[in-house]
Amino acid sequence: MPIVQLGREGRWTNYHGTGTCEAATRFALRSGDAERGRDELAAAAREVREWLAAAQAAGRHVRPLGAGWSPSNINIASHCWLLHTRRFNRCFRIAGDDVRPGVDAASLMLVEAGALVDEVSDKLEAQGRSLWTSGAGNGQTFAGAAATGTHGSMVAHGGIQDHIRAIQIVTPAGAQWVEPTAGVMSDEFIAATGSQAVRDDALFAAAQLPVGALGVVTALVVSSVPRFLVRPIQNLRRVDRRALNWLSAGEFRRFSAAYALDRDPDFVQMIVNPYKPFKRPAMLRFLYREPWRDDCPRATPGELGAGYDALSLLGRLLDDYPWARGWLLQFAMKLGYAGGPDVQDPPVYGSWGEGLDTHRPLADLFNASVTIDRADLAYVFEQICGVYARHGGSTVVTLRFMERAQGLLAPARFAHNAVIDFDGPRSQRTADAYARVVERLDAEGIAFTRHWAKSCNLDAARVEIDYGEDFRRWCAARDRLIPDPAHRRLFASDVLDGLGLTC
């Protein structure tokens, strides 16, 4: 049976320890051993539907869970039934006759919703394929990462949800297979998954980024590109203020030439100490994409510079010694950054998936971000650092870049985006300092959005303003996908209600 109950009613705490579900009854959705993926999905859809009906009969809300990584508490609901999905994690090759004419089956893979991004990367790589972007970590489930618009940020790409070509969603009314109007999978395939085909661009754009409010996502069809190598360059450099103008204008090549290689980079990340961002050296990381070859010097994930949040262990010190924050952060940056490979070091290579990290739960983290129009970067970046540092923010500030992402509720909604992350040790002072940054951006009239998964203090009124017409289209799509208000309420939680997504 794919759904099993885990223990008795009790507490469940998310990965970051930012939220606890009280009186939660925990269930796990597990993969079966059906020979074909479509049969697995049909069985799972049936079982999830019955489970939803049982929850409704018991008068409980439900909350599907991925890896539980989101610190914004969108994965938290009390007195509810939780559905853990991480053991629902099989991946399946798609054949030519599973898809509609004209669709390239070799670029697609069927993924059960609980497969980790890492797992998806591995399975694609085994077929000579790769994701083209993802987050800095890879321990999220694919459905959970897409649910919040996780991004990594390849400068020429959007979010992880851009990979999705079709989604199976289960609600108490049944299973729906949501695709763009042009269609992807064959009618026979969809019928065999026990779902009803819904080919509609508007619904698909909503379902690509559902924020956990559109039902239980059980499977995804994920698109890929031929696998490629990345060459990382990492260094600590004092960045000139003028270089912000280049980044603002998208002149990544120029930035790269000044601080790393004279080549077009595919990924650019700058981690600064908000206490004197241009006086103290910043941690720079570039990735350069190259065609795949088997005979290149391969590096371990550590050498590839996987992850970037190794600074979390200094949390207590930063809180205890506020006067030494600038210095401590700089010290942490030095310690926490895997040394090199710099320009003069022999080049090392790895696949895209190898450059990501599954993350270790060693410390309490604070994660927040703002996504702004890249054109505004030069004007506001120093102000942001100034306000943040002045109010005692105790994390580094990370700058990454990406293009507009798909999905009506994608935070990366500008044509070219600069994503500014505040990731590090958790403290109330840091959360307050982030709130002051938000106030400053508002006061300056700078448009920005916030990450669904991070501790960004969003509310319904703000969501409506930030996403405007797209928010109304998302709500209309939700009401078409789940027409019965009682069924919509099944997926409600205080947090999602507070965001205006489930009420």
């Binding site: 885990l6 223990g7 469940w12 796990a28 993969s31 020979e35 074909r36 993926g37 479509r38 697995e40 890896a67 539980g68 853990h84 991480r86 053991r87 994690n89 099989r90 991946c91 399946f92 090759r93 798609i94 054949a95 599973d98 069927l110 609980g114 980790l116 890492d118 797992e119 591995d122 399975k123 085994a126 077929q127 321990g139 395939f189 599954t358 270790r360 739960p361 060693l362």
Partner: protein, 110 residues
């Protein structure tokens, strides 16, 4: 002279104790390569009688460990270290945390 040496020794012992207090809170972390972790589970194991009773009858129950474990942490909280120091090491509580593995399934056909 003897008195100063006595004080010096006392200070040294205090430092040694403080060092033990700090280092006891260090996080010892071992992980398999390529983990696929489920939720973290924890238990507190209390060594009694300076470790003589370390084979405490504690059931190592983890509900979903049929695919093995991904990683394991051993550490003491501040409070646990204070208990160890206050009881002169007679009681030594440590926290053991682990994450079970979600399993890696072979690539199937759709």
């Amino acid at each position: 002279m003897m008195m100063w040496m006595g004080w010096g020794l006392c200070a040294l012992l205090l430092f040694a104790l403080y060092g033990q207090y700090l280092t006891g809170q260090a996080d010892i972390f071992v992980s398999i390569a390529n983990p696929r972790p489920l939720d973290e589970e924890r238990m507190v194991v209390t060594l009694k009688g300076w470790g003589f009773a370390s084979a405490a009858r504690l059931p190592f129950v983890t509900p979903e460990a049929d695919h093995g474990l991904c990683d394991l942490r051993v550490f003491a909280t501040r409070r646990q270290m204070l208990v160890a120091i206050a009881t002169l090491g007679y009681l030594r509580p440590v926290t053991v945390a682990w994450r079970a593995h979600a399993g890696v399934q072979p690539l199937g056909v759709a």
